[in-house]
């Protein structure tokens, strides 16, 4: 069906022209907010909440004029709702309105970095607009001046209507694409917010920022596969046959259709997740039975008749999904004090659940205290978000993206910052501090004569001869399951060769199944002083020992260091 609102702005005449007056884009107090909350404005018809925005022709385009906007258009905007305030976005000198090729259509887009000022008809309307406070919008985040400029709204003649018709199918496809792009940037903001600078956190963030997935543009693949792979390596097309991989892929796909406006029917979502995941497997398979058992357990928890184990010592994906089903609000997931009050929740479980909630909300709907947390200048985030958004929307590829640099500097002590910079401009900065328990262990190791290098807030490396034991690189990291029961893990990576340690650790994928099985059997040896495992994040073979911090004495600490180091060396 083609209706009056199925038009799209298409103004090839403006592209690349030079002019002395700036381009003005007409928007309104009902439609302009995505520019402030996501850094990018598209016609209202493509937004998730388009049903609640003004209908009619104005919903489908971003009307543009040079110098002044036609009075007729302004009146049309005024007629769309009570109390609506017409707003003109003045683009930077010489810039035309951008158009992106999306799904074979040219879509007009205003990026926050293109805007030089926001114009109102009078001081009263400007004052009203800037007095509004929302949970998900900061009206000052754009960082451009607001001005009262009556003459920008009173042109007597209107340019010809330059729009082309779009059918409903195109509108729906573009809306889906807008939603996917918003989800990915929401996931990114959530990842930054929740990250603790562990190796896994940094790796996830880097891959998200660089849209790095097997050399393909993520939106050309199934975006859910891309996100699933970033969040949980191995759940992409190769891992889609595992229970966790399948559950994560189906969950992301369901979340795409569950923006916050739709509510959260947890039991219904669980049933859909169960059913879609089961469809992928033979009903008699062990995977199908595992999904059935998990869904049954979740159902009991949602009815408050079972207790949910949510620590990090089980299936990360299944536990994170259960946590998300129990509480979908990112703010509630971010508040670890209230969450951990009655149920111990693992850091990684909470992180994944929060990331999924962030993806579901998308950047636009994420509360400002989450999306602008750790951002020194919100306008820099909005400009970067717009860059990612338009890139994802229009197949621009990663050459259009800003260059990412992630660093953390702990100095020589136990406190510092980690920083994400884009094109050498700091974007996010987060204070970090090594937890007291881990700090004590590090100080003890130093006292015993070893060299200690703090790697991240959650880990440090130990090497050297100590008082008499030679210890090769052992990473000591924090495992915090519950208050007063903090554990540390001593881990040594199995080098890939005896001679050249620089080639890194041995990957599980480099071994035959029979060799892996042999390694597994060694865990049962009576004289084994460490567990042999495959690292969940790097897939490297490691030797580990876990130890409660409170009960560890000198002899235990030194023997753990020696045992994991020597066993890893033996396995080379």
């Amino acid at each position: 069906m083609v209706t009056d609102q199925n038009f799209i702005d298409f103004e090839p005449g403006i592209h690349g022209t030079t002019r002395s007056e700036n381009v003005l884009v007409l928007s309104s107090s009902h439609t302009v907010f995505p520019l402030f909350s996501r850094g990018c404005l598209v016609p209202a018809i493509f937004e998730q909440n388009s049903a609640e925005l003004p209908t009619g022709a104005m919903a489908a385009w971003l009307p543009t004029a040079v110098g002044a906007l036609p009075l007729a258009w302004v009146t049309e905007v005024e007629n769309t709702a009570r109390n609506v305030i017409p707003i003109a976005l003045e683009l930077k000198r010489g810039l035309p309105l951008r158009h992106l090729d999306v799904e074979g259509c040219k879509i007009p887009v205003v990026s926050s970095s293109d805007v030089s000022s926001v114009l109102f008809r009078n001081e009263e309307e400007l004052g009203r607009f800037t007095s509004w406070s929302y949970d998900d919008v900061d009206v000052y985040a754009l960082g451009v001046p607001f001005e009262s400029r009556p003459e920008a709204f009173v042109a007597q003649t209107a340019p010809d209507d330059p729009r082309e018709r779009l059918d409903n199918e195109h509108i729906q496809r573009i809306r889906t694409r807008v939603r996917s792009a918003d989800m990915l940037i929401g996931l990114l903001a959530a990842t930054v917010y929740i990250s603790g600078a562990s190796r896994g956190d940094i790796e996830t963030l880097r891959r998200l920022l660089e849209l790095d997935v097997a050399g393909d543009h993520p939106m050309n693949l199934d975006p859910t596969l891309y996100v699933a792979d970033v969040l949980f390596p191995g759940s992409d097309s190769r891992g889609a046959d595992t229970v966790d991989g399948r559950l994560l892929i189906e969950a992301l796909s369901i979340l795409a259709h569950q923006p916050p406006q739709t509510g959260w029917p947890a039991k219904e979502i669980l049933e859909e997740l169960r059913s879609r995941s089961m469809d992928h497997f033979n009903p008699d398979s062990s995977e199908a039975k595992a999904i059935e058992r998990w869904a049954e357990h979740c159902s009991k928890v949602l009815s408050s008749t079972a207790y949910p184990p949510l620590s990090d010592d089980g299936s990360l994906v299944r536990r994170a999904l259960l946590l998300l089903l129990m509480r979908e609000d990112p703010r509630s997931l971010a508040d670890d004090t209230s969450i951990a009050q009655t149920i111990p929740i693992g850091r990684r479980v909470r992180r994944l659940a929060f990331q999924l909630a962030g993806a579901r909300y998308g950047l636009r709907a994420l509360p400002t205290d989450i999306k602008f947390a750790m951002v020194a200048t919100p306008s820099v985030l909005l400009a970067a978000a717009s860059s990612w958004f338009t890139s994802l929307l229009a197949d621009l590829g990663r050459q259009e993206l800003p260059k990412v640099h992630i660093s953390y500097d702990l100095g020589s002590g136990y406190e510092g910052d980690w920083t994400v910079s884009l094109d050498a401009q700091p974007l996010w900065s987060k204070a970090i501090r090594v937890p007291a328990g881990l700090r004590k262990v590090a100080e003890d190791c130093r006292y015993y004569g070893f060299d200690v290098e703090v790697l991240t807030p959650y880990s440090f490396a130990v090497r050297g001869r100590g008082e008499k034991e030679l210890v090769l690189d052992v990473e000591v990291s924090m495992l915090s399951y519950r208050p007063n029961e903090d554990k540390v893990r001593f881990a040594s990576r199995v080098p890939s060769t005896t001679k050249d340690r620089r080639r890194g650790a041995k990957k599980a994928s480099s071994l035959k199944k029979s060799d892996l099985l042999d390694l597994l059997k060694r865990n049962s040896y009576e004289d084994s002083h460490g567990r042999i495992a495959v690292d969940a994040e790097s897939a490297e073979i490691i030797v580990i020992v876990d130890q409660l911090i409170d009960t560890m004495d000198r002899d235990e600490c030194v023997s753990h260091l020696r045992n994991v180091s020597s066993l890893a060396a033996q396995l080379t």
């Binding site: 609640e52 009263e124 800037t130 406006q261 959260w264 039991k267 209230s338 009050q341």
Partner: protein
């Protein structure tokens, strides 16, 4: 209360929120249509414009809920003191003990002997009157005459202004006003009036249950929300202790939520409070009760990990993430009170944002009056998860 999310506002809410703060604006809406959200939004807007703003509510519990320390009575006394000094507002004559303010006499004083003082130090900025249907027409008359008569020579933008939020369906006191009374008293025309038609607080599933109990009045049946959630639960409990165990288990699994436990009678409230307090307080969940006016000062709202036990009469205007209605068999449902009982359930069910659980003792006979006002068996299956 949390500010609204722009991306989740409906068109009608957006129109009210973006209305200028001048003159008098009347917002009519059913429970959960976001009237309190509008109040909070407009208060914050006024604050950003450096206009003094207050939200005045009818009862003490509501005043705590909106984060204010005072009710309308407190606000009025403070306002009066601002221009009349130590002279108290006139009281209704007769009797000993507490005597309420005589707003008709107060109006005469404001327009007469205190007129100049009100003009110089009685500008209230922007006053937001929540649950305005619960105030008498004398109160409305006074609030109208101050800007219209006392400040008649000031520019419209410089006069004291009002946002009035009302829902005729929720009248609970004898001294109340209809929407027509309010419109007439404040000389409002259609352009000053906004009607919120959509239910915003509840999920669709909860609203469907609430709608079953709705007894029609001027503002009509609210439109169903689009926001989805889990079906409400109807649980047959074996005893009050069984109900307590279930509520406690839910609270422990959802320490991120505000939970309301609403009952009709004080003795049920006190028993539930004592039992829940025993089970939960030592495990990090705050359990609180509203048992007398003085205790409202210690009530905490908008805080996760809180269970609030209240009588129906104190719960109006509040909202919780999860609401439990235990011991419902104690609800009085006899001939004349049937509509009142349905209306009570309508209002109480509407307190729940995401989760609603109704609990009835399993020994309650099916022919009891309570079951007469509950949905039929087939509809019960549709509306509830039954345990």
């Amino acid at each position: 209360m949390r500010l609204p999310s722009e991306s989740e506002l409906s068109k009608e809410q957006r129109e009210v929120c973006q209305a200028p703060l001048t003159g008098t604006t009347l917002v009519i809406g059913p429970p959960g249509s976001g009237k309190t959200v509008v109040a909070v939004f407009r208060q914050k807007t006024a604050e950003n414009l450096s206009v003094p703003a207050s939200i005045a509510v009818h009862n003490r519990v509501l005043s705590r809920f909106t984060g204010l320390e005072g009710t309308f009575v407190t606000w009025f006394n403070d306002w009066w003191k601002g221009f009349a000094g130590q002279v108290k507002p006139p009281r209704i004559a007769g009797g000993r003990g507490y005597r309420p303010v005589d707003y008709s006499e107060a109006t005469k004083d404001v327009l007469g002997r205190y007129r100049d003082r009100v003009r110089s130090s009685g500008h209230w900025g922007h006053l937001i009157l929540d649950e305005a249907q619960d105030f008498s027409t004398a109160v409305h008359k006074l609030l109208n005459l101050v800007p219209d008569i006392v400040f008649c020579d000031a520019e419209l933008n410089d006069r004291p202004s009002l946002t009035i939020l009302a829902d005729e369906n929720q009248r609970i006191t004898e001294e109340n006003s209809t929407i027509d009374d309010i419109m007439e008293t404040h000389h409002l025309i259609d352009n000053d009036v906004y009607t919120l038609t959509r239910n915003y607080r509840n999920t669709r599933e909860i609203a469907l249950v609430a709608r079953h109990f709705h007894v029609g009045a001027a503002t009509g049946v609210p439109e169903l929300p689009t926001r989805r959630g889990d079906k409400p639960e109807l649980i047959s409990t074996s005893s009050i202790n069984d109900a307590v165990d279930r509520i406690a288990q839910y609270a422990l699994l959802h320490p991120d939520q505000e939970i309301g436990v609403l009952v009709q009678y004080k003795n049920t409230r006190d028993r539930l409070f004592a039992a829940l307090d025993r089970q939960l307080s030592s495990r990090g969940i705050r359990v609180q009760v509203y048992d007398k006016p003085a205790s409202s000062a210690s009530l905490a709202f908008d805080q996760p990990g809180t269970v609030t036990v209240l009588c129906f009469s104190s719960a109006k205007g509040l909202e919780f993430d999860a609401v439990f209605l235990p011991e419902l068999q104690t609800l009085r449902v006899d001939g004349a009170a049937e509509d009142f009982a349905k209306m009570t359930l309508y209002v109480m069910c509407s307190r729940a944002r995401s989760r609603l659980t109704i609990m009835i003792d399993k020994s309650t006979p099916r022919h009891s009056p309570l079951w007469r006002i509950l949905p039929s068996a087939a509809k019960l299956e549709q509306l509830f998860d039954i345990t």
